[in-house]
């Protein structure tokens, strides 16, 4: 039988605030030694009280706006009660029945055309501490670093709207781009700034019944999400095919083993005993506040993509690549403002530049070639100062040395030879050393000309203008 998956996704995104969610410790713990960004509040000492970080609320609202969410009249924080060594207070301050926002959507492409993945809620909570598991001479234990405890964590929950792993893939790419456009989350999965939990069930294709849901936790990379979902689809399909039943359980993704493993079955389901956080008064999101935040939203990826196509006449495909990162799109627009041929600009960025950035692991923000330099190089190309073949070499050199194109062209003597008399003498030399080809051409073999042009290029180390060499050869022959 053929099965189709029904998938829902929860995304946890750490917010790029200066301080933590409920205290003033710095939130950027990436480079901090263990337990150095910790205060009585985020350590959960007796007697401490939380105070809401305004920027974290604003970032959440901005994200919710970008995801087309609506806002309840008032929101509140709740205590989610459970014990774990990474949870200093024995409860997490989270949001239960009145989250900051709900009922939004994000569009992905599906076989049937654009499809809206519904967003159930976007809410705010606090991150937990980091545990390190140690196995030392037969002893196993854990070490705790509380630097991460209390970092603002935004949770974005979808409805069970994904019908394929590919839709999940698109959703994550788009969501990440939005978060990065907004500047609210780094989107770095390898550092844990973006983490996922999924739930997945299968049903026979075409059926409208729901199968038994399995939750998959501990998805800390893009790859883990896609691999684990594919793995679960296969596992559940095999199980159903064999006449078995899927059990409602919580699985963890084992990244090394490439398998999901059972963490907990339904019988021992948690009872979180949510209740309103008595230490924090409710939040009332006034229209004015929401509108002022809406005004702060940048142009978002989908809108930007459409505009680039319309404004610059580039392909939707190129526009899609260029708008994958806000900074890349800005780079493109800066170049396009300096050079009339936007298509050529898009080509150079989406092919040559991205390739160089990727192979050297450089971000667009740190790109050594300024938009101005790229525009200058394209002008040299247009003016025939360099050949298109040389342009690649020049560009690579610009990237490597961080210098302008003219400087490189001059230093390396890469200026195209456009002096007819100079080329004429080389043509004569080439004709003298290749009598066979000359004869072939005169006998009507057109390809012989290509060979001869190639020889001219070779003799000039590529600097001869191919058009001129061609013209002179024809004349001489």
């Amino acid at each position: 039988m053929e099965y189709e998956p029904i998938i829902g996704l929860e995304t946890h995104a750490q917010l790029l605030t200066e301080s933590k969610m409920f205290c003033r410790c710095r939130a950027d713990y990436a480079a901090a030694p263990p337990n150095t960004l910790v205060c009585p509040v985020c350590l959960g000492l007796p007697g401490v009280l939380p105070v809401i970080n305004r920027r974290a609320v604003e970032y959440t609202v901005m994200t919710a706006l970008a995801l087309n969410c609506s806002f309840p009249e008032h929101a509140k924080f709740d205590r989610k009660n459970y014990h774990y060594p990474d949870l200093p207070k024995g409860y997490q301050i989270s949001q239960y029945d009145l989250p900051l926002s709900q009922n939004g959507w994000l569009a992905v492409d599906s076989p049937g055309g654009p499809k809206r993945i519904r967003i159930r809620r976007v809410h705010l909570e606090e991150d937990t501490a980091k545990l390190f598991h140690v196995a030392n001479q037969g002893e196993t234990y854990s070490l705790i670093d509380f630097n991460r405890a209390g970092v603002p964590l935004m949770e974005i929950v979808t409805e069970h709207d994904f019908a394929s792993v590919d839709e999940v893939r698109q959703y994550i790419i788009k969501l990440r781009a939005i978060l990065r456009y907004l500047g609210v989350c780094s989107g770095d999965m390898e550092t844990g700034a973006m983490r996922f939990e999924a739930n997945i069930s299968l049903r026979p294709k075409g059926s409208d019944k729901y199968g038994t849901k399995v939750e998959v936790k501990n998805l800390n990379s893009f790859r883990a999400v896609l691999k684990s979902l594919q793995y679960e689809m296969d596992r559940q399909a095999r199980l159903l095919e064999a006449g078995g039943q899927v059990k409602q359980e919580t699985m963890g993704w084992d990244d090394a083993g490439n398998v999901t493993v059972v963490q907990r079955s339904k019988e021992e389901a948690d009872d979180y005993r949510y209740f309103p956080e008595p230490d924090l008064p409710p939040l009332v999101l006034s229209r004015e506040w929401i509108e002022s935040l809406r005004a702060r939203l940048p142009e978002l990826p989908d809108a930007k993509r459409q505009r680039l196509v319309a404004q610059y006449g580039i392909t939707p495909y190129d526009a899609g690549i260029l708008t994958g990162e806000k900074a890349l799109a800005e780079y493109f627009e800066a170049c396009a403002a300096r050079h009339p041929n936007a298509k050529a600009v898009a080509n150079w960025i989406t092919r040559d530049l991205l390739q160089l950035l990727n192979s050297t692991n450089t971000t667009i923000e740190a790109c050594p070639v300024t938009p101005d330099s790229l525009a200058q190089m394209l002008k040299l190309l247009d003016d025939g100062v360099i050949s298109s073949k040389l342009a690649k070499t020049v560009f690579e050199e610009m990237f490597k040395a961080g210098k302008g194109p003219e400087e490189i062209v001059a230093a390396q003597g890469l200026i195209q030879i456009s002096d007819a008399s100079q080329i004429e003498s080389i043509v004569e030399e080439v004709m003298a050393t290749n009598p066979r080809a000359v004869a072939d051409f005169r006998a009507g073999k057109e390809q012989a000309l290509t060979f001869l042009v190639g020889q001219v290029m070779k003799a000039t180390r590529g600097r001869a203008s191919p058009a001129l060499a061609n013209e002179i050869l024809r004349r001489k022959l």
Partner: protein, 95 residues
């Protein structure tokens, strides 16, 4: 509302409290008595009454996103029952 020993045991598990058998029984009796006493609340019709979780009429209490100093690490770890290197140490977590 009379609690069963199993219910008391379940609650003790949720609260992560190790209780001796006689404590379980004593709590069963005492909690049952208190809950029975609390039954009187059911006399009141509260269908249309909103809940009061907080008595102060405050809303939108927030602070600006400005970082401040953290504790010196030695103070963070000063009360740690078990520490290793610069971290708190706990037994292995077996789910």
């Amino acid at each position: 509302m009379k609690l069963t020993v199993d219910q008391v045991r379940h609650v003790a598990h949720l609260a992560r409290l190790a209780l001796e058998p006689e404590e379980l029984e004593r709590f069963r009796e005492q909690l049952s008595a208190i809950l029975e006493y609390a039954e009187v609340l059911q006399e009141l019709d509260t269908q249309a009454i909103p809940a009061t979780a907080m008595v102060v009429p405050l809303e939108n209490v927030m602070r600006p996103d400005q970082a401040g100093p953290s504790l010196p690490r030695e103070e963070v770890l000063a009360n740690a029952p078990q520490r290793e290197q610069d971290c708190f140490r706990v037994r292995a977590i077996l789910d």
